[in-house]
């Protein structure tokens, strides 16, 4: 393979290996992947138990809160996994080495996507097993629907991650807080824990413009009505294609702007 190939799997593998070495060398980093999702799941699980004991509706809709928190964590942790791997390069003052190397932006992004899945797997698989042990809720029983939910949520999380990475390249660590908080805007708007119908009518079109809304509605349809809504998933995929395309475009615009303004020389505050 030519050393200046347009897309090199070996360079993607090099970056994945770099992050794997980093994760392996630091047990607090691994613990952090599991700790908070486990706390969240337990808190929502016990709340669900309490509400179910006092409401016939929730007694029938078993697992709707735990399902929601697990799917929300795919969305949130997927983006965080992407962004934290990117931030590690800025904290390590290694961005200059990477930007000067033959690594292409598309390869860098591909490696960050792989790492977001690796980090998610480390965090979510044990937490999903805990949900079975504590509450008898088996997220894996959703089967194919879970795979479709996952694909849609991870696509949105990558789109946000790519956009935030562009902002970080352009504005340095001054934009770091966006990496941690951007996704929280999605928490009320994508109706993670309640149906879209709860929102005021003027806000509902905003919710329907966001791909995860379709996933959370789809999850409720599956757990409450026992119906898989393929139509919702197709709409989510279509919106994700738009989100992902816009994120990639904005990333390259921000990268070019960083080259013009000399921001790549100074990725600090």
């Amino acid at each position: 393979m030519s050393a200046h190939a347009t897309f090199s799997l070996r360079r993607v593998a090099a970056m994945v290996l770099r992050y794997w070495y980093l994760l392996r060398s630091s047990w607090p980093r691994i613990l952090d992947l599991i700790y908070w999702p486990a706390v969240q799941m337990l808190m929502w699980g016990f709340l669900q138990l309490y509400v179910a004991q006092n409401s016939g509706f929730f007694a029938q809709a078993a697992g709707v809160f735990i399902g929601a928190v697990l799917l929300w964590d795919i969305l949130f942790r997927g983006q965080l996994g992407f962004s934290i791997s990117f931030l590690e390069e800025m904290y390590a003052r290694n961005m200059g080495n990477l930007m000067m190397s033959p690594l292409r932006p598309s390869e860098f992004v591909a490696a960050l996507m792989v790492m977001s899945i690796v980090r998610l797997a480390i965090g979510m698989i044990p937490v999903s097993l805990l949900a079975i042990a504590f509450f008898g809720f088996n997220v894996w029983a959703m089967g194919l629907a879970l795979a479709v939910f996952f694909m849609n949520l991870i696509l949105t999380s990558w789109a946000i991650g790519i956009f935030v990475a562009g902002l970080l390249l352009r504005n340095g660590l001054g934009a770091e807080s966006l990496a941690w908080t951007f996704m929280f805007l999605f928490l009320p708007l994508t109706c993670v824990y309640y149906p879209v119908a709860v929102l005021p009518s003027w806000l509902q079109p905003v919710a329907w413009a966001l791909p995860p809304t379709y996933v959370f509605e789809g999850m409720r349809a599956l757990l409450i009505d026992h119906v898989f809504r393929g139509d919702l998933m197709l709409q989510a995929f279509a919106l994700n294609a738009v989100f992902f395309g816009a994120a990639v475009l904005s990333f390259f615009m921000l990268l070019n702007s960083a080259r013009r303004h000399g921001s790549l020389l100074q990725t600090g505050e």
Binding site: R18, A92, P102
Partner: protein, 252 residues
């Protein structure tokens, strides 16, 4: 007769950040296998010039070519044939030396990487600590690791930003010796930014002096010393930075 393409060719380079002109129309070409120093006081335009050569900054006008490729537009055609080292860019600290060299070797497309790491570890005396985390090494050892990273792909063009900054004299001398040996063995073209004038006098065949984004002087260290009537390059540097060179030339 076809003229060989210079490994680094800068032509009419201008870089303006908002209202500040960092580089103001400089042109130079560097010969294959030479060691050239880019000198100047703080804010003279060295960093911007080197960053443009590396493809990290896009020019406002003018062109920069490395190994024939226009930077930054065609940088991916040549990035695997060049490399750089700077004390202001770190290697990932939690990774061992071997892990770092493995990652960067893969990024640079190095063939038979384990063998290359073995050779470079021997050349730069890294073997003793090759499986230790980079962050646990002394400043001198870290510089050698950065140097190993910069030589992992056997670059044809090597950019060095103050390669011996913060090193003790013995380690600095060792680094200079290794770089000189590497250049003589491989014919690598080296562009060096340094504030250590003794280093520049020892290593470089040519010195480009920048001041306020322009080339103030450009010659061999010996001819600069003769022209400014000075004993050391440090005195020449001070003459240029403080404007005494202009006064001296006007008087002559």
């Amino acid at each position: 007769m076809v003229m060989p393409v210079p490994p680094i060719a800068v032509d009419g380079l201008v870089k303006v950040y908002k209202t500040t002109t960092a580089v103001d129309g400089i042109s130079f070409a560097i010969e294959t296998g030479s060691i050239t120093a880019l000198l100047g006081g703080n804010g003279a335009g060295k960093t911007t010039t080197i960053a443009t050569i590396m493809g990290l900054v896009s020019p406002t006008s003018g062109t920069v070519r490395v190994l024939g490729a226009e930077m930054p537009r065609q940088r991916h055609l040549v990035l695997h044939r060049m490399n750089f080292e700077s004390p202001y860019v770190d290697m990932p600290m939690r990774l061992t030396v071997r892990q770092n060299l493995t990652v960067f070797g893969m990024l640079y497309g190095v063939d038979d990487l384990p063998a290359r790491i073995r050779v470079i570890a021997e050349e730069l005396d890294l073997t003793e600590f090759i499986d230790r985390p980079t962050g646990k090494l002394s400043a001198g050892q870290k510089t050698r690791v950065s140097l190993a990273k910069s030589l992992i792909n056997q670059p044809e063009v090597l950019l060095l930003d103050e390669p011996t900054a913060s090193l003790d004299p013995d380690t600095a001398d060792w680094v200079r010796g290794r770089l000189e040996r590497y250049r003589s063995e491989r014919g690598t073209t080296i562009l060096l930014a340094s504030h250590n004038m003794a280093e520049v006098e020892r290593m470089c065949e040519r010195v480009i002096m920048l001041k306020r984004g322009r080339i103030e002087d450009d010659d061999t260290p010996q001819r600069l010393l003769a022209r400014y009537g000075r004993e050391t390059l440090e005195e020449v540097f001070l003459d240029i930075v403080r404007g005494r060179g202009e006064t001296r030339e006007a008087a002559q």
